[in-house]
Each structure stands twice: as C-alpha cells, then as structure tokens.
C-alpha cells in the first residue's frame, strides 16, 4: 500500500490539478465555437433590451407619479429583495447554490483536503459570474429608468448596477449561509414566505414598512437619497463573506445529490423538456410521495373507474410541500387578478403563469402515464382513452389552486373582486391552467421530421415559438375574463356579466383540448399515412404490386 506524506500540501496540490484541468479544457475549446456563443448571447441580449425598452417607454413620469413611486415604490421594489432572499434560502437549504461536478464531490470532498478551501474557488467563480450578470442587468434597468424618471442617466445606471449586484449578493449570500448552517427546508420556506408576505403587505399598504423596504430605498436613490438604502448593500456583503466562511460546513449529501441532478436539469432545460425539468426539480427538492396517503382508499369497489382511482391515489400521496405550492400559486394568481382588476392589465399574465405551473402539478397522474409508456401501452385501453380518463383527477387538483385564487381575489380589501365574478374566474382559471398543462405534457417535442422537414427555417422557428408559448398562453387565456369584467364595470355594467363571453370562450378551448387529447394519436397516424402516400418513391407501388 502506498503511504502519504503527512506534510503534503493537499490544498496546493488541488489548486495545481485544477489549473491543469482548466488548461486542458481551454485547449479543447474551438475559437469559432466560443465566438458563435458570444455572438448568440450578444444578439439575444440586444433583443431583450429592445423589447424591455419598448415595454417601459420613454415618456417622462408626472410629478404625481413620482410622488407615488417614492411613497409606494420601496415596498414593491423591496419585494424583489424578499424574493431573492427567499430563493437563496430555499436553494441553500437544498445544498445550493454551488453545483459541483459529481466526481469533485466524491474525490475532492471525500479526501482529507480542507473543504472550505476546496469549495472557495468554485464559489468565487460562481459569485463572479453572478455579479457580472447583476451589474449588467441592473445597469441596463437603470438606463431604462433614466428615460422616464429624473435624476440623470449616470446616476440611474450606477444605482441600477449597485441594485443588481446587491440583489445577487443577497440571493447567493443567503444560499451560502443557509447551506453552511444547514438550515432545514421548512425553516427556509417559512422565512422566505414571511419576507415575501411582509413585502406584499407593505406594497398594498397593509403595513407601513417591511424588512426589505430598504432595498427599495436603494433602488430609488437617484430620486431621493435615503441612508437606509445602505442596509441591503451591507447585508449582502455580510452574507457573502459569512457564506464563504461557512462553505466547509455544507452537507456533502446535498452536494452529491445536487451534483447528480443539476447537470441533467440544465440539459433538460436546454432541450425545453419541461416535464423532465419538473421531475428533476422535485428530486432536487427531495419532494417524495408520502408512504401513507392523506386518506386511504380501500381496494374494494374501485374497479369501475381504474384510471380515475389510480390518479386519485397518486394525488392522495402528494407531499405537503406540493399541496402548499398549489395553495401558494393559487394565492399568487388571486392577488394578480386583484391587480389586473384595479387597472394593471399585464398582471393577467402572472395569474395565468401561476395557474399553468399549478396545472403542471395537477396533471401529474397523466404525466406519469406519459413517462411510462410501455406500462400504459400494455393496457387493453388505448393510450388516448387513458389520457382522457385522467383529466377528472387533474380537475380535482387544479380546483385547489383555483379556489384559493378565487378566495384571494374576493377577500375584502384594496382591489377585491365581486364574489360572483371571482366564482366565475375560479372555473376559467382551472380550465385555462389545466388545459395549458395538458398540452405541455402531451404534445411531443418539436422535431423537423416527417411533414416539417421541407418547411423553411422561418416556419420552423415560428412553429417552435408557438409550441413554447401556446401552453402558458392557454393558461393566460383563463385569467383574461377579468379584463372583460373590468371593461364592463367601467362601462357601468355588471362585471360578472361582462366576463361571461370570456368564460364561454375558455370553456370552448378547454373542450377542444379534451377532444384533442382523445383524438391526437389518431390524427398523428392519419397524418403519417398521408405523408407516406405523398412520398414520390416506388416502394408503395412495389408493395401494391406484390
């Protein structure tokens, strides 16, 4: 057996080997690839800036708008800091934010090397990248703000960059600290929830201030300098320093699990494989089905509706975290509806996206069938029929979110909706969210095979964009009746009556989607047969001759 030198500089050796591996990687990168990636990033960045600029506009804010911004802005902008902190705490409680190579966890972190030193380099590298993104995005946001608000372009750009940097520091620092002190997941979720709730309460004037309002003060420095704006900067710096100091205490188990899943998650995200992203994210969060269901269903008498009962059994094993997520997403959708009802129309998009995410959870029993096609195809029922029979269980699940949305929208207070309108929207939101999720789970990934192989690239691009946007678009459609109701109310009519055409339209779309679920396989087969017939080769003739 080989012997170790007790005086060996293990950390030095680690540094040397990392340098060696970096040199190897760099030598493997082709400059054309690197240039192409930089080119793509630049193009996409410019498009994003152009879209955001047109959305913000360049009309100078009125004095009244500036007064409102100064009064209410800190609370709302503080919500971003609350969200960043919540995100960081959640990530840290699951072993984030570092995503190491799996071999690095197994060989470096299981060696007697000082773990704080071993993890510092990857942590600093990640922080450096995030800081760059924060500075860039913040600076651009500041430049856009300068077009509408007084204070000078340089001041806004500098403040925006500082805000972006601080936001990144808060999120990454909170994650590092949470990982270092091994904050339990429930505690991280609770703290995050309290921070977001207080920021929201501050935003809608239920509270005079919130713990994260100081971040809003920082963001509005060019309008009014408040010393309290320094608090989040100092806090972010403190969290990052403390987090780096605690690196060595992070859980190896969480790092190992994360190293396995994060790579797959990135790959799935690259391929726009939403279902795989969801499954991997659940694994990352250790979101396991309950061994004991919430309510046990007996075996007797359940044979008449096997697919529905199978779905119900799956729902009854949902972990508390998933149920809580459905409730939370419903509450978010409800609050967004209040905002849209009060005049901020774009919030219907937020409500729709929240219901789409809830829908992706609600269709879990059906998604399981899609994940295990060989088991499904061994059944005497055709696949499409099984898919259709899973929809009732999905309806039950999405109703949890939709009812929460309705309650959140109708609770008396600023921007509350009439109860009859909220009740209508419960139905519309449920159908929109579920419909969008059904399309997302069942529609196959975009390929350029078969009938699309001859289509021009522009058509392929539009098809890809449509395929990506259509499922959440259906969910947003489910929230849109609130806008019709608002228009009706502004015209002096009954709001609920005004929303009815929207509700009918959403119902029609949902029925069509259910029909598509039942006949999509038949349509695909028919289409494939037509393509075969249209092929200009002699095989078909030869077959016919034989």
């Amino acid at each position: 057996m080989l012997t170790a030198d007790p005086d060996a500089d293990l950390e030095g050796a680690l540094g040397d080997w990392r340098q060696f591996r970096r040199r190897k990687r760099v030598s493997d990168i082709h400059w054309i690839d690197a240039f192409y990636q930089a080119y793509l990033t630049g193009i996409l960045g410019l498009v994003a800036i152009a879209v955001a600029s047109s959305a913000v506009g360049d009309e100078l804010a009125t004095a009244a708008q500036i007064r409102t911004t100064l009064a209410d802005g800190p609370g709302w902008i503080g919500g971003a800091a609350a969200f960043a902190l919540a995100l960081g705490l959640r990530s840290g409680s699951r072993g984030g934010p570092l995503a190491l190579e799996r071999a690095e966890v197994r060989h470096v972190l299981l060696a007697p090397v000082d773990r704080t030193t071993a993890l510092r380099a990857p942590a600093v590298r990640q922080l450096r990248f995030l800081a760059f993104v924060g500075l860039l995005v913040g600076g651009i946001a500041g430049d856009m703000a300068s077009k509408r608000l007084p204070g000078g372009t340089l001041g806004w750009v500098a403040t925006g960059a500082l805000v972006g940097l601080t936001l990144v520091g808060l999120a990454a620092g909170a994650a590092l600290v949470a990982g270092g002190i091994r904050l339990p997941r429930w505690a991280a979720s609770l703290i995050g929830l309290v921070l977001i709730a207080t920021a929201a309460a501050d935003g809608i004037d239920l509270m005079s201030t919130s713990p994260t309002a100081a971040f809003g003060d920082l963001a509005l420095w060019p309008l009014q300098f408040r010393l309290s704006g320094l608090i989040p900067v100092v806090l972010a710096a403190g969290l990052v320093v403390a987090g780096l100091g605690l690196l060595g205490r992070a859980s190896l188990e969480a790092a190992d699990r994360r190293s396995t899943l994060v790579g797959q998650l990135r790959f799935a995200a690259t391929l726009q494989d939403l279902r795989t992203v969801i499954v991997l994210r659940r694994q990352l969060a250790m979101e396991l089905p309950r061994i004991r269901p919430w309510v046990r269903i007996g075996v007797r008498g359940t044979g008449r509706w096997p697919v529905f009962v199978r779905g119900l059994r799956g729902l009854l094993r949902w972990p508390a975290a998933r149920v809580a997520r459905l409730v939370l997403l419903g509450a978010v959708a409800g609050l967004a509806l209040r905002g849209a009802w009060s005049g901020t129309s774009p919030l219907v998009v937020l409500a729709g996206v929240a219901m789409f995410l809830a829908g992706l959870d609600a269709v879990e029993p059906l998604a399981q069938e899609v994940d295990h096609p060989s088991r499904r195809d061994a059944s005497p029922l055709v696949a499409a029929q099984i898919h259709l029979l899973h929809i009732p269980a999905g309806v039950l699940a999405i109703l949890v979110s939709a009812v929460c949305a309705g309650v959140a929208a109708a609770v008396p207070g600023p921007g509350s909706l009439p109860v009859d309108l909220a009740a209508q929207l419960v139905v519309a939101l449920a159908m929109g969210g579920l419909g969008g999720a059904l399309i997302s789970v069942l529609a196959s990934p975009v390929s350029i095979s078969e009938g699309w192989s001859l289509a021009p690239p522009e058509a392929q691009g539009m098809r890809l964009a449509f395929r990506t946007a259509w499922p959440p678009g259906v969910a947003v459609m489910g929230a849109a009746p609130v806008l019709l109701a608002r228009n009706a109310a502004e015209a002096g009519q009954v709001a609920a009556t005004g929303a009815q055409p929207g509700l009918i339209a959403v119902t029609g779309v949902f029925v069509l989607i259910c029909g598509w679920v039942r006949v999509r396989d038949d349509i695909a087969l028919w289409w494939k047969a037509q393509m075969e017939l249209a092929k200009p080769n002699g095989d078909r003739t030869a077959d016919a001759d034989r």
Binding site: M1, A4, A8, W17, R25, H107, L110, A111, L252
Partner: protein, 228 residues
C-alpha cells in the same frame, strides 16, 4: 490476527428520508484487520450504511466513528477509502491522470512505476491513457477500484464490487482484497456474492436495518440471509 481495537463503531445510527426509513437504528462494531461481508436483501440498508460510514450521507440520528473520530471528519476521510457501486469519474482525465490526481489529494506522491503497477493489477495497462468516462461498466469499475487503492487507508468500504466485472476481473479483485487483508487493512464489502462471503472473517446480515446474523457463514446460510 486482527487486533481487538474497533476501527468503526456505529451507535444507533439511522437514516431516513422524510417518512422513508433507509436504515433503522443500527449498532455494531468492526474490529481492525478483519474482512467483513455485509449481506442482506435489496433495500436492507447495506449501501446506506457504507455511505454513512464514508461520510457521504448525513446521519438522521445516532453516531458513527471511524478510527476514533466522527465519520466524515477530516481524519476519518483520511482513514476511509470508499468504492461506490457506481463508478464516479472525471470526464476529462485519463486513468493515469485520475490516479495521480486522487493520490495527490491524499498526500501520495506516486511514481510513474507505482501508478503503472496499480494499473496493471486491475488489468487496465492497455487503456491507461484513455478517458475512463468513456469505458464500459466493467472497465470503469476497474478504474474505480484502482482509485480506491492509490491512497492509504485503514478501512476499505466496497459497495457491490463484483457487478459488471468479468471472471478474470473478479478473480483479480478477490486477490487484491486478500492481499489487503494480509497487510492488515479492514475491508468491508457489501455484496450478494456467496463466494466472497465464504472468504470473509465475518458476515453481517442486515434485514430492515437490523443485524440478523453476525459471524462466519456458509454459502447456504448466505443464500438464506439474502432471501434468495
């Protein structure tokens, strides 16, 4: 003869994932210098126990000490070499580079001859400069075995080492384990292979996290213990 000093002591060590119990509270003591076979049916907690002892998993309750310190502490990491059931390797390092790197992480300045000798022992000489991440399961397993042996250790924890190995590879590994035993190392192997269990000084059988057998075992006893 093995000394009476324990190299590993588990005291009510358990592991649970939410309401799923992977290892019920387990207490046992492993004497230094022994070869121990850890057997049990699927899901009995063998791999979980080895990972806990290696410091790769966090304990839910209880404690495990290795060479007198808590599992996962720096001194324990220096004392334990863990060979997982699924080899974990770098994408961009050759077999030779892997060995040099892992050796360096443990303070071993292995010469080229020493590395070549170890590579020959696991029958990888013809692939020494290839990337093991692209190897077949069996060849990756051999690389993983070499990585476990390039550094010094007092306790070798091996999880299902014979899976994926061909007959000669298995024989070579059994020979290496015998040599390690003669050198005084403590070797714990989680396996379903009755052939290895008969060579071990001690066979510990787990069922639902409880020790159901502790001592020498025959092939027939092993087959019964693993539920075959």
């Amino acid at each position: 003869m093995p000394t009476a000093e324990p190299i590993l002591v588990a005291d009510e060590a358990s592991k649970a994932y939410a309401d799923l119990v992977a290892l019920a509270p387990l207490s046992l003591s492993l004497t230094a210098g022994q070869t121990i076979a850890l057997v049990g049916h699927n899901g009995s907690g063998k791999s979980t126990f080895l990972r806990l002892a290696a410091g790769l998993l966090d304990l839910s309750s209880g404690s495990i000490t290795v060479a007198g310190v808590a599992a996962g502490a720096s001194d324990a990491r220096a004392a334990v070499s863990f060979l997982p059931d699924e080899p974990v390797l770098y994408d961009d390092l050759s077999v030779r580079e892997h060995l040099a790197y892992v050796g360096a992480l443990h303070g071993v300045e292995a010469s080229a001859e020493e590395i070549d000798e170890l590579i020959a022992r696991v029958e990888l000489s013809h692939r020494a400069d290839d990337l093991p991440a692209r190897f077949s399961r069996g060849l990756r397993q051999k690389t993983s075995i070499a990585l476990g042996l390039i550094r010094p250790f007092e306790l070798l924890l091996v999880d299902e080492p014979f899976v994926g190995l061909d007959a000669t590879g298995k024989e070579a590994l059994l020979g290496i384990l015998d040599e390690l035993h003669e050198d005084g190392a403590t070797v714990v192997v989680a396996t379903h292979d009755p052939g290895f269990v008969e060579r071990a000084d001690r066979c510990i059988a787990l069922r639902d996290g409880e020790v159901t057998h502790d001592g020498p075992a025959t092939t027939a006893e092993v087959l019964k213990l693993v539920g075959a």
